[in-house]
């Protein structure tokens, strides 16, 4: 089984937004929201002694994702290959996971009222393609692959070149988007783009303790009711409609 990961080389990235537009068109991400986003020319210092970097971010498909637990319906889950996904059939758009993600990598799509985020272009992977952002990157700065495969580029960049994980005291949950950069660049990243604390909203905490059993019962009861109706239907000799 694979463990998918991405490495972004900030030394090569020019912050041109090709990746984010490709992602947007691939997944119809509405304007004003993003599965992946870029900040160009983040500059610190005093003229003329300055340093700067561009910044690219997205869902980190963490080892210990903080977004799964708060989800009341189980819409957010993780595949064995590490991809954290949202099942839009189950998502009720409550936004608890959005608050829980320390990287702000999730948004509620206003057109569908469902949560959306990067899934490493899983559909493309199934077709043998790379994620859209990787394919189009004009600086060849994004690398995607299997961290368990010693021959993969990401393996080399992570284990041999020492690509860095964007973690801090707020959140250390094993992000699987790694970064390469000059020490100056990584300094800026740490200062400006480190993860925040995962926010478990009071309702979400309440959910865990009180609401969860109630909702579980309700869901089960609803189905039980439907089952009763269904079998009543059969008993009355009505043919179920096949649509």
């Amino acid at each position: 089984m694979a463990r998918y990961a991405m490495v972004i080389d900030l030394r090569k990235c020019v912050g041109c937004d090709a990746c984010t537009v490709a992602c947007r068109t691939e997944w119809d991400v509405p304007i004003g929201h993003a599965r992946t986003w870029v900040e160009q020319s983040v500059t610190v210092g005093e003229f003329p002694n300055v340093s700067g970097t561009n910044w690219v971010a997205q869902c980190n498909h963490c080892d210990e994702p903080s977004c799964i637990e708060p989800c009341p319906t189980g819409a957010t889950f993780q595949l064995k290959n590490g991809i954290v996904k949202v099942d839009t059939d189950l998502c009720i758009g409550c936004g608890y996971c959005v608050e829980a993600c320390p990287y702000d990598a999730r948004y509620i799509n206003p057109l569908t009222n469902k949560v959306d985020k990067c899934d490493f272009c899983e559909a493309r992977l199934e077709e043998g393609l790379q994620p859209a952002c990787v394919t189009t990157c004009t600086g060849d700065a994004k690398f995607f692959g299997d961290l368990e495969d010693p021959n993969s580029e990401v393996y080399k960049k992570v284990y041999e070149e020492g690509a860095w994980r964007n973690e801090n005291d707020n959140a250390a949950i094993g992000p699987n988007v790694y970064y390469l950069g000059t020490p100056e660049q990584l300094e800026i990243v740490k200062e400006k783009f480190g993860p925040r604390e995962p926010r478990l909203l009071p309702p979400a905490q309440a959910w865990k303790n009180i609401l969860k059993p109630v909702v579980l019962t309700a869901i089960g009861a609803t189905f039980a009711g439907q089952a009763v109706a269904f079998f009543n239907q059969l008993r009355k000799g009505e043919e179920p409609i096949d649509d």
Partner: protein
């Protein structure tokens, strides 16, 4: 309520799934085949290769089309030799151009006054009959040269062909005078060849890249960007000279935050160090260059200390960077720049860059500038063009080194305005944006007032369309065939085709159709002897041993016979007057110009003002893409970069809106401040192309500020005719009041008297044209 069997089972499964997950177990390995829904890749039925036109770089694309013929998404074409399947933000957003609801949809004829934007819809027949009738009348009365043609890009080639057949010499593109003209003049005078496009920089092999104003990363051309990034990864060093801390500067080993306008002083000092410290390529210079002794004498006093006082750069930094070049030559890639129309001394600055390149021995050598190759794509047989009359734009005469292939836009606008040397009665603007790309748009409007016929062929209703007598809607690059696109400046030169990915929307027509139909009405059918565009392309591809059909699947034919470097085992002839690299130019001397570049100080920034500089963003092209739904979403308006120390002094804060007033009292639209340590205190910077003034551009209208509308004056480069545009000064207006340091005063009255740009120029006559006519080059 009755439920179906399938629905029942599905709900049961969902419930079971929900219960499992909710009870705390993470389901691993779940992989529903139909999920996620609606991925476009699954709706794709065709992938059609073509070439992009979101900018002039023309990268390879693949249009993903669904079964209804709708364009779902654009990908890069992996067969493209320069981009390897990559595509920039604009290319990725290209479908939004085709599907822009604000597009020009039908031929329109003006019914109101010019500028009012009142039109009636007409048929193509009516439109073309009207245009042809007018053109014939103007030709009969004033001669063919009374028609000016403003083309851009390969889409305009067929109409350009028609205009040459019609007999006008007045064909002008901003690619020359507003962009890279002076660069090409400087390099041609030195090496005998202009650099051309794409710039043939051998970043694959370079050890040191040198950028002077070039801002790759913000100015994104996918292929060049890729090579740049790969060179960085490879460990190539980078020197960036720029008053702004650009994306490239942030990656540089040396950033030289130069005082704007003083680049030539730096270049001369670099030459001084290389020559006087014996760090130049002596053998290359001895064998292939003339004028070294004169140059050595010329730069004797141009020490780093001298340049330090002028440029504001530490002398040690100038010295160190010169020594870096001396260490890595000939594998030094000095980017010749692209938009170089800065101060009016631009051809001489380009000469200085070319001479520096020569001293490092890097022209025609690995790691430097490689050579372009020819591509055998024959022209379709055509009727003979009439001998055109004298040009009105001054190319080859007033501006002796002005290109007669690309012409001088501002020269033709001046001629129209002044009716000198003869009246210009018609303009046909084809894919150009004359009010946002050529400075002093007021003068352009006044020139338009003098026309009997003003035709705009375009995709979007840009401001200029408001003034047009006739508006012709052009098909987008996604909807048409175009002329064959040949790329000579590639190590493996290639030809690429543009072919329709979708059918033209509305009544938009491709350029070849418009030109051919107009030719019929002008009695110029002999210039369009092909029946179909496919037949035309077949003919041109025959030189590469291909048919159109064979090329359609990949979109690209690579012609693997180029030799990108000089073979130094054989004698080398440079196409200069002497046959050698001309460090000293006798040609320039003969025309009364400095034979070697000298530093001429530019006008100082008045107290309380800033020098207005401008450049690119990776999410917009020129003034062209601001209405694209996606790109507008990324950057709906531009920002004004201002130095943070200066902003603090003036009490200005990041994110607040101000206006700008230039030296002539011209006021900009609102613009948001970007307070940053990454810009020279003397300058402010904005991305070009904003504050679109056409209300028909519903997204872009009045968003941001227009740099072009603050350029009420220019310094003309006497060699090329190029418009130096960084000679405008602005002050900041906040809440209707100027924000200036104490003691500073308005300079408006002083400059209002200066009507230099409106005064007809004294025309000098030179004995013979210094440039060859008829060169056809790719523009920017």
């Amino acid at each position: 309520m009755s439920i179906s069997r399938r629905e029942f089972i599905k709900r049961g499964a969902l419930t079971a799934g929900a219960l499992t997950i909710l009870s705390g177990t993470t389901v691993k390995g779940l992989n529903k085949k139909n999920f996620p829904k609606g991925w476009k890749g699954r709706q794709r039925v065709k992938e059609i290769p073509s070439i992009c036109e979101m900018c002039f770089w023309r990268c390879g694309i693949l249009g993903n089309v669904d079964k209804h013929g709708k364009l779902l998404k654009i990908d890069g074409n992996p067969n493209h030799p320069l981009t390897e399947g990559r595509l920039c933000a604009r290319g990725n957003a290209g479908h939004k151009l085709a599907y822009d609801p604000d597009r020009l949809k039908y031929p329109l004829m003006r019914v109101g006054k010019r500028g009012e934007g009142k039109f009636k819809r007409v048929s193509w027949d009516e439109a073309l009959d009207f245009m042809a009738e007018k053109l014939k009348k103007i030709k009969a009365e004033y001669g063919a040269e009374a028609v000016g043609f403003f083309p851009h890009g390969i889409q305009a080639r067929f109409f350009e062909h028609l205009m040459k057949g019609f007999g006008t010499p007045n064909i002008v593109e901003p690619a020359f005078a507003q962009c890279r003209g002076s660069r090409d003049v400087g390099y041609k005078l030195t090496f005998g060849n202009s650099v051309g496009s794409p710039e043939p920089l051998d970043f694959e092999n370079t050890d040191l890249m040198v950028f002077i104003g070039t801002h790759i990363g913000e100015n994104v051309f996918t292929g060049q960007n890729l090579q740049f990034a790969n060179a960085i990864e490879r460990g190539a060093k980078l020197i960036v000279v720029d008053p702004r801390f650009s994306v490239a500067a942030a990656k540089a080993d040396y950033w030289l935050p130069i005082k704007p306008g003083t680049d030539t002083a730096l270049l001369l000092a670099w030459m001084h160090v290389l020559i006087y410290e014996n760090r130049y390529d002596k053998e290359y210079i001895r064998k292939y260059a003339i004028g070294f002794d004169q140059l050595k004498k010329h730069v004797k006093d141009f020490t780093p200390e001298w340049a330090s006082k002028i440029t504001g750069l530490p002398a040690s930094l100038i010295l160190d960077t010169a020594r870096e070049m001396g260490k890595y030559y000939p594998k030094v890639g000095i980017h010749p720049g692209r938009h170089v129309a800065w101060y009016g001394n631009d051809s001489q600055r380009a000469r200085a860059m070319a001479i520096l390149t020569a001293l490092l021995g890097s022209y025609g050598r690995p790691g430097g500038i490689y050579l372009s190759s020819k591509i055998p794509a024959p022209k379709y047989p055509s009727g003979k063009n009439p001998k055109p009359g004298p040009r009105a734009d001054g190319a080859g005469t007033v501006y002796p080194f002005g290109s007669r292939g690309l012409g001088i836009t501002n020269g033709l606008i001046d001629a129209t305005y002044d009716e000198d040397p003869y009246p210009i009665k018609a303009w046909i603007v084809y894919s150009q944006n004359v009010l946002q790309s050529i400075p002093d748009p007021w003068k352009t409007k006044e020139a338009i007032d003098k026309l009997d016929l003003f035709v705009v062929v375009d995709i979007m209703p840009m401001e200029q369309y408001l003034y047009a007598d006739l508006v012709l809607p052009e098909a987008t690059y996604l909807e048409r065939y175009d002329d064959l696109y040949t790329v000579k400046n590639a190590k493996k030169p290639f030809a690429a085709i543009r072919q329709p990915i979708i059918d033209p929307l509305y009544e938009a027509k491709p350029g070849w159709w418009i030109a051919k139909e107009t030719a019929k009405r002008l009695g110029l059918e002999e210039h369009f002897q092909w029946e179909t565009i496919e037949e035309y392309l077949d003919y041109r591809l025959s030189g590469l041993g291909k048919t159109l059909q064979q090329v359609q699947a990949k979109g690209i034919v690579v012609y693997d016979k180029g030799t990108p470097y000089y073979d130094f085992s054989k004698p080398i002839h440079f196409k200069t007057r002497s046959g050698k690299i001309e460090l000293y130019s006798q040609t320039l001397k003969d025309y009364g110009f400095d034979p070697m570049p000298v530093y001429e100080p530019v006008e100082e920034v008045p107290k309380g003002y800033f020098r207005l500089t401008y450049g690119r963003s990776p999410v917009h092209s020129f003034a062209r893409s601001q209405n694209n739904e996606i790109l507008h979403g990324y950057m709906p308006e531009n920002e004004l970069w201002i130095n943070s120390t200066v902003a603090n002094q003036l009490g200005l804060s990041d994110g607040e809106y101000v206006r700008l007033e230039n030296q002539d009292g011209i006021l900009s639209n609102n613009i948001r401040l970007k307070v940053t340590p990454g810009i020279h205190p003397e300058a402010v910077f904005m991305v070009h192309g904003f504050d679109q003034k056409s209300p028909a551009l519903r997204l872009a209208y009045k968003h941001g500020a227009s740099d072009n509308y603050l350029m009420s004056r220019v310094n003309i480069d006497p060699l090329s005719g190029g418009t130096g545009m960084r000679v405008n000064f602005v002050r900041i207006i906040k809440n209707g009041q100027p924000v200036m340091v104490s003691g500073a005063e308005s300079i408006v009255p002083k400059f209002k008297k200066n009507t230099k740009t409106r005064t007809p120029k004294k025309r000098i006559v030179v004995p013979q044209a210094a440039t060859e006519a008829g060169e056809s080059e790719e523009g920017c």
